[in-house]
Structures are given as C-alpha cells and as structure tokens.
Amino acid sequence: MADLPHDTDPQLPPAEVADVMPPHAHGWWSHYVFSQDAKYIAIQYAATAIAIGFVALVLSWMMRLQLGFPGLFDFITPDAYYQFITMHGMIMVVYLLTALFLGGFGNYLIPLMVGARDMVFPFVNMLSYWIYLAAVLVLVASFFAPGGPTGAGWTLYPPQAILSGTPGGQQAGIVLMLLSLILFIIGFTMGGLNYVVTVLQARTRGMTMMRLPLTVWGIFTATVMALLAFPALLVASIMMLFDRLLGTSFFMPSLVELGEHLSYGGGSPIAFQHLFWFFGHPEVYIVALPAFGIVSDLLSVHARKNIFGYRMMVWAIVGIGALSFIVWAHHMYVSGMHPYFGFFFATTTLIIAVPTAIKVYNWVLTLWKADIHLTLPMLFALGFIVTFVNGGLTGLFLGNVVVDVPLSDTMFVVAHFHMVMGVAPIMVILGAIYHWYPLATGRMLNQTMGHIHFWVTFIGAYAIFFPMHYVGLVGVPRRYYEIGDPSFMTAPVDGLNAFITVAALTVGAAQMVFLFNLVWSLRHGRAAGHNPWRATTLEWLTPVVPPEHGNWGAKLPLVYRWAYDYSLPGAPEDYVVQTDPGPKSPAAAERL
C-alpha cells in the first residue's frame, strides 16, 4: 500500500482521509475469487443473489401451477406447497432483494460514486460475501435435507414453525433456515459497516453529503436501518433455535400435540411476532430506499433534467427511514392488540405515506417538460413509479385496522405487497442493470431483447397482480393449498386463477430472455465506450472503463458540483459532470 499524491486546489477543503491504494491482488485466486475489490465482490453478490432468485422464481411457478390447476400435478403435495411458499418468500425478500441492493449495487456504486478507491475495510468486505454465500448454501441444503425445507411460511411464526405438523418443523428444515438467517445477518453486518463508514469517511474532496447522488443516500440510509433492524431477526432466530434444539420456551406456550403434553411452557408466541416485524417492516424500506435512490438517478439521467426537490428527496429518505421503525405492529392487527395501539400504528403507517408521496411527486415533476429518452432504464423507472403508486394505494387501505382485519388473510394482501415490494423494486433492479451494465462490462445490453423483456414483464406483472386484488376481495384466502368448496366466495375465480398462472409463467420466461441477454451481451453487445448515457456522476468518469483496481488512476477526482447538472442554460453540452469546475450555473453566478 502506498500513499498517493494529493491535489492542492485552494478551492477545496483538505482531504479527510489519506489517499491510499487498496491492497493489490496477487494471482488468479485473490483477483477473481477471494477478491477484496468491491467491484468484484459486487458482481459476486449480484450473481449469487440472481441465481438464488431464479430458484425462488421457479418455486413461484410451482405455487401458481397448484393454484391455477389444482390437483393436476401430483408432485405438488400440501407439504411441498407450504415449503414452496416459505422458501419463495424468504429468498426473494432477504437473499435476493436485500443482498442485491446492498451487497450488489452498494458495493459497486458506493466507492465509485463517492470518489473512493475502494471500501474502507476490503478484507471484511470480502468476508461479508463469503458468509453470505455460506448462508445461501445452507438454505439450499435444506432442499436436500430429510423432510425438506421448512414450510412454516416466510414469517416463521411459532409455535407451529417448530412443531411436527409443519413440514421441516421437527426435522432439519427449520434449523437450517434459522442457521442460514444467522449467517446472513453476520455477513451483512460486515458489509454494512463498510458501506456506512465508506460513505462517512472515504468521500473524495468536495463531495459533501449534499452533493451525493440519491442512489448513495438511499443505500446509505437503508444500510443504517438494516444494521439496526437485522439484530431483531438475529435475536428471534437464535431464540427459536434454542427452543427447537435445547428445549427452552422463549416463544412456546404450554401445548398439547396429538393428545400429548409437550415439555414447553411459559413462552410468548406474540413476542416473536414483535421481534420479527420489528425487523420485517424496516426491511420493506431497506429494499425500497435503495430503489427510491436509484430510480431518482435513472429518471434524472434519462430525462436530461435535474432531480426535482433534491433536498426534499434527502429529507424524505431520512424521514422514511426513521418512521419505518414505529409502524411494525400494523402487520399484527389480527393478532389482537389494545385499540389505542392499533390507532397509533395506523396513524404512523399513514404518516409514512407523506414523505413517500413527496418522492413520487418529485419524480413526476422531474419528468415534467423534460427531454425524456425512452431508453430501457427509463422504461423500467417509469414502470416502477406506476407500480409503486398502485401498490402504495392499497397500502393505505391495509394500514387501517378495520379494513385490514377482514382483508388480512386474503390474496388482496399478497397482491398488495407483491406490487409494492416485489414488482416495484425488481423494476428498479432491472432498470439499474440496464443502466450500469455498460459500466461493469464495457458493453451495452441488447435492445431488442431488452424491450421484449420490459414489455412482457411490465404487462405480465399487472396481468398477475391486478386480478389477484380482485381474487382477494371476493374472499380467497392466502396460504391455502386448495380452496375446496367455493360457496363462501362472492364470485367464481377458477378462470382468473388459471389466467394468473399463465401470466406468471410468461413473466418468468421473460426473465430467461433477460438472463440470456446478460450472458450474450458480454461478448456480442455493442461497445459502450466512456459514459454512454452522458451522466454527470463520478462512476462514469474513471480513466478506464470498466473501472480498474483503485478506480481512479494516480489522483482522486475533485468534486465541484452536485450530481444533477443537466440541461444547464449556456453550457456547451446538456450535462456538466461533477468534476467540472465551471461554468457555474446561472443562478449561482447571479447569487455570487
């Protein structure tokens, strides 16, 4: 490691941290496999997350086949159905979305966007990935364990999660799931420390917090939230593991199973629900905030206009982050609670809609009279806004106790959360991959395949989840293997269920096109060159594309402006990069 020379620009404040080249890799293994370079770690995270995400996608197909064509497939037994539900939910929320946004995009973009050479603790960062991989492998191992994976539902509610009536409850399934979660959280904490300290300490000169792109603000705030929320899941997992393996009764009341008194007694199942949702609700925003940040940048770049209300966007991100810690019990209305508590949590839930709505208005106002380029990242960003608004609106219904109680265990809730935290963040992930793939690989993704991918995914997602709201409203319960006698429903839904299944299979197939595009374009994609989207942010300004080890060559970049100087009047081009010391914006010139 060697100290590098500092630039001595009198306009800029002194450097806070010594500019040190991160450790070089020696040999193939430390370069490509046990790499300490955040960019490689990011790609490892992303590849693992996408791979396990495809497993979860196939599981959703299995569920839909059963719901759309009940009894047609012998291998989908009731036990298998519950196992599919559980693994699909847990994989998508934790092992795909959280890992991809924070481990994938966080690792790739934070050092580049803040102008750092790497994360501040590269070795710990590398460990973070390998522990994440171990967590994924333990999870996958449960598919091959005797009795299969746990079928307790992704919320793993006790006491049923560890009893013999639940698939995997008295076998290895639940144990492996809990061990995997514990590993995931340990791994994430290692990565999270890196993301936070890098944003705080390793920003290049001139890169103040208020000049950071919103992507970094989103990932940074989400990481802080995750560091504070994941301990709740860790504690819950350890306690349940104790209950399952060591005979404690943290969450287990006195029980009679098959006419036999179990040795448990004195524990509280509701305590688990509090712990789980104290993690679970912030988790929604741990996924959403990076998506909010990234989509702000995608809109600004592809609409060639500065983001509307940058300050307000930052405040909203911080506000949502804080508020998300005091809404958790809205997931527990049906568990029963004091009416005043219900009132409190309904109120905080509705209040969180305010900063969220501010963000939506600002995205729409960014598009107002903008020079909108309907590129693939822009299409996905637009898809996100529409989907997020749709999903958010049903959230307003469900946030109220009296509406939630009858709808809580129906497919309406499934449709709601898939719109708001399934489809919407996935739209952003896909848009972001189309946007930053040229940076990571030096090649553009194929446009034709991209358009097929977008339109099938977008229209298909609505074909799945719009009818699902209706299915829920007529009374179809969620988590049911078979509906049985449909006389309790106000309308028949067989045809709709079959339609949703066909749509789900089609959307899944479109993701295969995307996967093929990712691989095909590595060799055959059009060469991207430097800064193909004509963006202002630092990640596009590295001396070499894709960025090399240490990112910035001999000297770190100096930052003179915020990240959103697009279409400045009088500027020679329609964008001014962050490292450009002039021209000043007309408003600034006037003020000075």
């Binding site: 306009q11 999270g192 300290v197 103040t208 917090m209 560091l227 104790f242 300050r311 402006r561 915020w562």
Partner: protein, 228 residues
C-alpha cells in the same frame, strides 16, 4: 418494545446531531464550483468509527434481547433468577479490564505491556467467572430449559460472553502485533480500538445486569403508574 425504542431514540439523537452538521439546508444546485466548508468537518479515523458503528449494532442486539425479556416478564408470572454474589466480582473484573485497556492505550513503552496484560487477564477472569455462575445456577436447579427467566439469563450472558470472546481474539492479535512491530504509532491504535470496544461491552453489561435484576421492569412499572 420499550427498551429497543429507547435505544433507537438515542441513536436517532446522535444521527440528528450529525445530520444537522451536514448542511441539509444547503442548496447544492446553486453552489457549484464552491466548496461547502461547514459540511466537511474532520472526523474520527475509519477504524474507530467502524468500531463505534459496530458497537451500536451490538447495542441494538442486546436492546432487542432486553425488549423480549421485559415483554415476557410482563406477560407471564415470572420468578427472576437469583443471581449469586459472584456476579458483582465479575462486574468489578470487567470494569478493571476496561480501565486497564484504556490506560494501556494512552501509556508508552513498558507500561503499555503491563496495563495490556492486566486488561487481558481480568477479561479472562470475567469469562471464567461467568462460566462459574452458570455452573452454580445449574446446580441450584436453574438449568437452561427449567424456566423462561433462566433461559434468558443463559442466552443474554452467553451472547455477551461471545462478544467478549471476540474481543479477546482481537486482543491476541494486538499482542501479536506488539511483538512484531517497533513503531509506537501502529502499536497504540489497535489498543485504543480494543479499549473502545471494551467500554462499550462494559456499558452493555451494566445495563444487562440491571435488567436481569428486574430493575428494568420496576422502572417501566413506575413510569406506567406515573403516566396513568
């Protein structure tokens, strides 16, 4: 969930203080070309900040455990585990360990080794003492799965002990580095980090002890009676 919410409120206050120094009211779109000096204040070295952030995460972990503990005591008729007097001796050992490491981080030359040794030995003593308490309790009929209060005691002290154990591994690395390096600067920094970590674990232990003695529930009951 009072414990974790109180903990998060204190974190939120620190975050609010930090945010207030980041120029959140500035208008970056008007300030191109000019630095924003108020937002670029000198900050602690990354390793120190990293340790502090990690301590906050560990604090969150124990605050969650504390919340679960308080919640269960309130819901079910419980008898707290009677703690043996050894717990006070152990607490004194941890306090001494924390102080010794603090002094070791600030002293120079040979005395660094002496203070570091004292810190390490007392930390090991704390661990041995905790195991002794476990044995005593098990012998007295308070086994791990005998009652939820006992389960909580083992879980809380066990997780705290694991964190001390992690700190002892770090201390072993410090000893190794002391033997390798002659540069006083590279020697002192990691000792300072260990001291910071130990202070954090000491504070957490004192709060956990109060909780295990039932003081947390008494305090909450008092607050409730004042409010109602």
């Amino acid at each position: 969930m009072t414990v974790i919410l109180t903990f998060l409120a204190s974190i939120a206050m620190i975050a609010g203080w930090w945010l207030s120094r980041q120029g959140l009211m500035s208008k970056p779109w008007l300030e191109s070309g000019a630095p924003l000096p108020q937002a670029e204040l000198p900050s602690p070295p990354p390793h120190r900040l990293g340790t502090a952030v990690f301590l906050a995460v560990v604090g969150g972990l124990f605050a969650m455990l504390g919340s679960a503990f308080v919640m269960q005591i309130d819901e079910t008729p419980w008898q707290l585990v009677p703690l043996p007097d050894l717990v006070w001796f152990n607490t004194a050992l941890l306090l001494l360990s924390s102080l010794s490491l603090h002094v070791a981080g600030r002293s120079r030359g040979h005395s660094t080794h002496i203070w570091l040794a004292l810190g390490s030995v007392t930390a090991l003593g704390f661990m041995v003492g905790q195991v002794q308490i476990w044995t005593t309790l098990t012998d007295n009929g308070y086994g791990l799965s005998e009652a939820p209060a006992a389960s909580f005691f083992y879980l809380i002290t066990g997780l705290h002990g694991l964190h001390i154990l992690g700190g002892l591994v770090a201390l072993a690395l410090v000893w190794f580095r002391l033997a390798q390096s002659d540069d006083p600067k590279t020697k002192q920094a990691p000792i300072g980090l260990c001291a910071l970590y130990w202070h954090g674990l000491l504070v957490i232990w004192l709060l956990l002890l109060a909780l295990l003695l039932g003081l947390g529930n008494e305090f909450l009951a008092m607050c409730r009676s004042v409010l109602t």
